[in-house]
């Protein structure tokens, strides 16, 4: 059984800005534990001669030419913004007064 704790789940939720109730934390602690256990099974077959991979496609060096393509208009860019001020996105205060 994995060693995922409720504290770790609460910490992750905080980092990911997700509000979780204590019931949700309990449920996710168990579910995440099962996921970690499942993934750990890979370690049973992976030997040092199998290189780690981050991508299913055996591709490297996929580049695009440095050529400008049209951007969104300012109105398109701001259309999904909760708030704006002129042509800029407006966001709540970031830091409290020191």
């Amino acid at each position: 059984m994995s060693e995922i704790t409720a504290e770790q789940v609460a910490h992750l939720a905080n980092l990911a800005r997700i509000d979780l109730s204590s019931e949700e934390i309990t449920r996710l602690t168990s579910e995440l534990g099962q996921i970690v256990d499942s993934v750990a099974k890979v370690a049973e077959v992976a030997t040092p001669d199998v290189p780690a991979t981050s991508h299913p496609m055996p591709l490297t060096n996929v580049f695009r030419a440095d050529t400008v393509v049209p951007s969104l208009t300012v109105e398109q860019a701001l259309s999904g913004a909760p708030d704006r001020d002129g042509d800029k996105f407006r966001v709540p205060a970031i830091l409290d007064e020191e």
Partner: protein, 501 residues
């Protein structure tokens, strides 16, 4: 904000050994952003260069800019780094409004370049070799403006505004190893190191390298180790120190601040600090905590970068001469005294003077014109000297002076004409009718008239009071409207005074 106590700098160094580290961010001057085809340019209206990829909207898919990879490899090579055979991008996850994606696309355990070295020379002649840990690729964040509050700073602001034009612009972050043994030179090491990086990226042509526009930005890490101890002190990271002088000041300030705090029995908090250019102090930002739990993981939308060795060697062959070596060579070639050469370097006129000499001018004349009259005119109009006039025009001007067609005074008028767009120096000479009167016959007529008009002067010259000739020379130069070579006029005046009746 309470101003921190500072310890006297010399006393701080008696008690503690400074340990430094620098992270320098270089903005590449590619045409487009790192992972999308939006233009990499500023000065446009806010949020004019964005797309679903750099805004982190659904459906956005990053595509790597080939030119950014090439520039990063060349920069890595210029820093003496090894270039990775296999390199990946990673997501650095954090929430901050300057990054709409909620992660920065960066590199973590497999940077494109690593294990480099850069040797810098301090004003004393001391050489310091800075070990480069890595140079990795990432994308820049958007620009925040803080509104409200007393100071326009982030603390106490009512709200903030975001322009994402800069979001996604390619950056290379160059990270040093710990720099020990800097001692009292530590602040100067910071300044000189950042200056050297700036010079290298400029010589490579991979960045516009303008610190005032944020093309090169420095984070300075400083910690103090008590003398006789092997244990490293807690470090602070002063962010976004954006001028060479500020790097020096910020390092010095942190040494003095930390020394005072430690000596009084306090402890240093490991934190990010903000540099305040106006007051010359640093202030605490957020402490390092949960916020630095970035949960890096390999970027699933991008495949690895695996530059072939052939490509790397091809790029190595494109590297320019290292700027420090170039300076040494040019100073020796030109035979400039240290001060003369520094004057050229500090005025950012090395390229202009070199090109002027290449176009045929003598080294000293090229230096004199660029750091003198051209720099003066540039200063008056508030632009850089090398944007005012082409080196080949300055060389042509110097040639006219050497040939005796122009005096220095006339040449200054011609230069103004060239800058005003009236053509080449020769064309300005012709259109403005500015050439020196080199026809001795015309000069002799004017001299004889002047001598006849001032018989007392003539008598003095004949008595051997040669300096009296000045009055006649002045009259002749006036008659010639300044377009005569004063030295030649003087020769002729003495000659005519000796032979005239």
């Amino acid at each position: 904000m309470k101003k921190a106590e500072l310890m006297d700098y010399d006393k701080a160094l008696e008690l503690f050994e400074p340990v430094l580290g620098f992270e320098v961010h270089v903005e590449l001057n590619t045409k487009t952003k790192m992972f999308c085809g939006c233009a990499n340019e500023f000065g446009q209206g806010a949020n004019t260069n964005t797309c679903p990829t750099c805004l982190g909207l659904p459906g956005g898919l990053p595509q790597v800019n080939a030119q950014a990879i090439e520039s990063s490899i060349r920069l890595g090579l210029a820093l003496g780094c090894e270039i990775a055979e296999y390199s990946r991008f990673a997501r650095k996850n954090y929430f901050y409004p300057d990054t709409a994606k909620n992660f920065q696309t960066s590199q973590y355990d497999e940077p494109i370049a690593f294990n480099g070295q850069l040797t810098i020379e301090l004003e004393s002649g001391r050489q310091v070799t800075v070990d480069i840990e890595r140079a990795h690729m990432e994308d820049d964040a958007g620009k925040l403006t803080h509104v409200g509050g007393a100071t326009g700073r982030i603390q106490g602001a009512d709200y903030s505004l975001v322009d994402y034009n800069r979001g996604g612009v390619p950056l290379v972050e160059i990270v040093t190893q710990m720099i020990e043994g800097g001692e009292a030179d530590s602040p100067e090491i910071g300044r000189t190191y950042v200056a050297a990086i700036r010079e290298i990226v400029k010589a490579l042509g991979v960045s516009n390298a303008r610190m005032e526009e944020g093309n090169v930005r420095c984070d300075a890490n400083v910690s103090l180790r008590p003398r006789g101890s092997n244990v490293l002190g807690t470090r602070t990271e002063t962010k976004n120190v954006n001028s060479l002088r500020s790097v020096e000041r910020a390092v010095r300030y942190e040494i003095q601040r930390q020394a005072a705090l430690l000596h009084a029995g306090g402890t240093i908090t490991q934190e990010t600090r903000h540099w305040h250019e106006d007051t010359g102090i640093t202030s605490a930002g957020r402490p390092k905590s949960d916020a630095d739990d970035y949960r890096y993981f390999p970027e699933p939308d991008l495949v690895p970068v695996a530059p072939s060795r052939e490509w790397v060697e091809e790029l190595r062959a494109t590297l320019p001469e290292p700027p420090a070596a170039r300076r040494k060579r040019l100073q020796a070639d030109w035979g400039f005294a240290d001060l003369e050469f520094q004057d050229v370097v500090n005025s950012d006129l090395l390229d202009a003077v070199e090109a002027t000499i290449a176009a045929g001018a003598a080294a000293q004349a090229a230096r004199k014109w660029w750091t003198g009259e051209v720099a003066r005119l540039a200063n008056v109009s508030g632009v850089s000297a090398d944007s005012l006039v082409q080196p080949v025009q300055v060389a042509a001007l110097i040639e006219l002076v050497v040939a005796g067609t122009l005096t220095d005074r006339l040449a200054r008028q011609v230069l103004e004409g060239v800058i005003a767009g009236e053509g080449t120096p020769l064309e300005v000479v012709e259109s403005r009718g500015l050439a020196v009167v080199s026809d001795d016959g015309a000069l002799i007529v004017a001299i004889d008239e002047a001598l006849a008009a001032q018989p007392d002067v003539l008598a003095k010259i004949r008595d051997g009071k040669v300096q009296a000739a000045g009055a006649v020379i002045g009259a002749v130069m006036k008659a010639m409207r300044g377009q005569a070579d004063a030295a030649r006029v003087r020769e002729l005046v003495l000659e005519r005074a000796g032979t005239a009746e």
